[in-house]
């Protein structure tokens, strides 16, 4: 069902969501207070969620909130609080390669943008699809079955590995 009879609305939503994504992202990488950096991840992740919605990927959006905003951020906050970063004392957070790092980031970004604008993308504009949970589930259980099972192995290995690494040697 084509929905974009109001392109201005979609563009406006897109711009707002991009700003909600990018501005806190800048705070994440520049803030001197590590806890504030970590908390700024939340609006970034929620902005990305909004972009997924604009792309009609509802299930991925839900997972984005559940895993990124609800689980990974909490994990990061825990580690910050359990190590010296939680002391809230402002210590130097950046190393001496800031100009170099900025140059590398800008250069790589420029190169990618070059590729983005030069490639003739094969846009399929025939339909606005309605994705749903069951299509994703069916894909996992049929076409991407191997990935699905290997994922569980990856999860198992990382669980055991992380427990071994994090626990005190006794």
């Amino acid at each position: 069902m084509p929905e974009a009879r109001c392109p201005g609305g979609e563009l406006g939503a897109f711009i707002i969501l991009s700003l909600v994504t990018l501005i806190p992202a800048v705070v994440v990488v520049t803030s001197g207070n590590i806890v504030r950096s970590a908390l700024s991840l939340i609006p970034t992740f929620l902005g990305v969620t909004g972009l997924y919605i604009l792309l009609h990927a509802e299930f991925v959006a839900g997972i984005q909130i559940l895993i990124y905003a609800g689980a990974i951020t909490v994990l990061i906050l825990f580690v910050i609080m359990l190590t010296q970063g939680g002391s809230g004392v402002r210590i130097r957070q950046i190393n001496e390669q800031v100009p170099l790092g900025a140059m590398a980031a800008v250069w790589l970004g420029f190169l990618i943008l070059l590729v983005v604008f030069r490639t003739p993308w094969q846009i399929d504009a025939t339909s606005v699809p309605q994705y749903n949970v069951s299509s994703v589930g069916t894909a996992f259980l049929t076409d991407y079955m191997l990935i699905f099972e290997v994922t569980s192995l990856v999860l198992l290995v990382s669980l055991i590995g992380a427990i071994i690494i994090a626990r005190r040697e006794e």
């Binding site: 109001c6 908390l39 299930f59 839900g62 997972i63 909130i65 609800g70 909490v74 609080m81 949970v133």
Partner: protein, 359 residues
């Protein structure tokens, strides 16, 4: 859709937000607090609130007005920005839970803000957002009790999020959909999911209820706020309206959990022998009573073994007496009264924090 339609939708959404927020503030928070105090008073052979209004009905409103006038104390060493943002985040996460909860049926329309396709997944995601707010609030106070309470609260909520999801998943499996309206309609074809595939329905409902109780930090899962050890945990430093926002978020979530249990296991608004709204209301109240009160404020908390040797701040904290001004040594003051008393006492009397250097 034209631009006009979009604006219409946005207007409707704003209106609904105001309605739901007011409903949460007035019905869940105020009435919930009143009922909790009254019923737990009744269980403990006290009277509970009785002076303001008939049967003390207006007590919570009076409390709210009082809280509105109380000074906001920001501890000197706190991180001010995060300290202020955390209660707002918790309250908004509690509000967002209610987007997918159907309130009942009017004619052939379901009264729901929006029937998302991934309804119950969305619900679980919003419940997990609260953890971040609690952790942020506990950390930004720069108070040992608050931080410890925040960490404990977060660990507990994380631990019970998986069982919560398992309860939800069972329902999703039986109903074959994640939408809340779809789940209720599936129960009109089958029967209540509580009785479906005996005894698995009961089991799922039990797991869901236990996890939901833990998720909203109610007794007997109130360790994180254990007032006798941690002086209310993560909101130890919060006064006045900021404290009330935390409470609002917690009550909104507790009621949302109860509503979810009604929708998933008790057939939502479908009950042929009674009018829809009445049934939804009754089932809902029953679940609220279970969540809020069977686990009532005088039940014993889950036991905690002593801290492992080698923990640093914790062992100091847990062995130290933590008697605030509102503490009573041999008798446990019900959770709500105590935290409120601490908040109010500390808002009104600057010297209520005990002897000060030179003072």
């Amino acid at each position: 859709m034209t631009a006009r339609d979009w604006l219409e939708e946005i207007g409707k959404a704003i209106l609904l937000t105001v309605v739901v927020f007011t409903y949460l503030a007035v019905v869940t928070a105020m009435l919930g607090v009143y009922l909790e105090r009254k019923i737990s008073g009744w269980i403990q052979a006290r009277l509970g609130p009785k002076h303001v209004g008939p049967q003390g009905l207006l007590q919570t409103i009076a409390d709210t007005v009082k809280l509105l006038q109380k000074e906001h104390i920001t501890p000197r060493q706190a991180d001010v920005l995060i300290f202020n943002a955390a209660p707002v985040l918790v309250a908004v996460a509690g509000l967002l839970d209610w987007v997918v909860i159907p309130f009942g049926r009017l004619g052939d329309r379901v009264l729901i803000v929006r029937d998302l396709n991934i309804g119950v997944l969305y619900f679980a995601a919003m419940a997990s957002l609260t953890v971040v707010g609690i952790l942020a609030g506990g950390w930004s106070s720069n108070n040992k009790y608050a931080l410890l309470g925040g960490l404990r609260s977060a660990s507990q909520m994380l631990s019970y999020e998986i069982p919560l999801a398992m309860g939800i998943l069972w329902v999703a499996m039986v109903a074959g959909t994640l939408s809340t309206v779809g789940i209720v309609q599936a129960q009109s074809i089958n029967r209540w999911f509580l009785f479906q595939a005996f005894p698995f329905g009961f089991l799922a409902a039990l797991i869901f209820l236990a996890a939901a109780t833990a998720e909203v930090n109610r007794v007997p899962f109130d360790l994180p706020e254990a007032e006798s050890e941690l002086v209310a945990g993560y909101f130890a430093e919060y006064t006045g309206m900021r404290f009330a926002l935390f409470q609002l978020g917690e009550y909104a979530e507790a009621f949302a959990m109860a509503a979810m249990a009604t929708i998933m296991f008790l057939g939502g608004w479908l009950e042929p022998s009674l009018p829809a709204w009445l049934w939804l209301g009754l089932a809902f109240v029953a679940v609220v009573v279970v969540v809020l009160l069977i686990a009532s404020p005088h039940m014993d908390a889950v036991d905690v073994p002593p801290p492992a040797p080698g923990s640093t701040t914790e062992s100091v904290l847990e062995s130290a007496p933590a008697g605030g001004p509102a503490q009573s040594p041999d008798y446990r003051i019900p959770h709500y009264d105590c935290t409120l008393m601490v908040a109010i006492a500390r808002s009104s009397k600057p010297d209520a924090r005990g002897p000060m250097p030179g003072g």
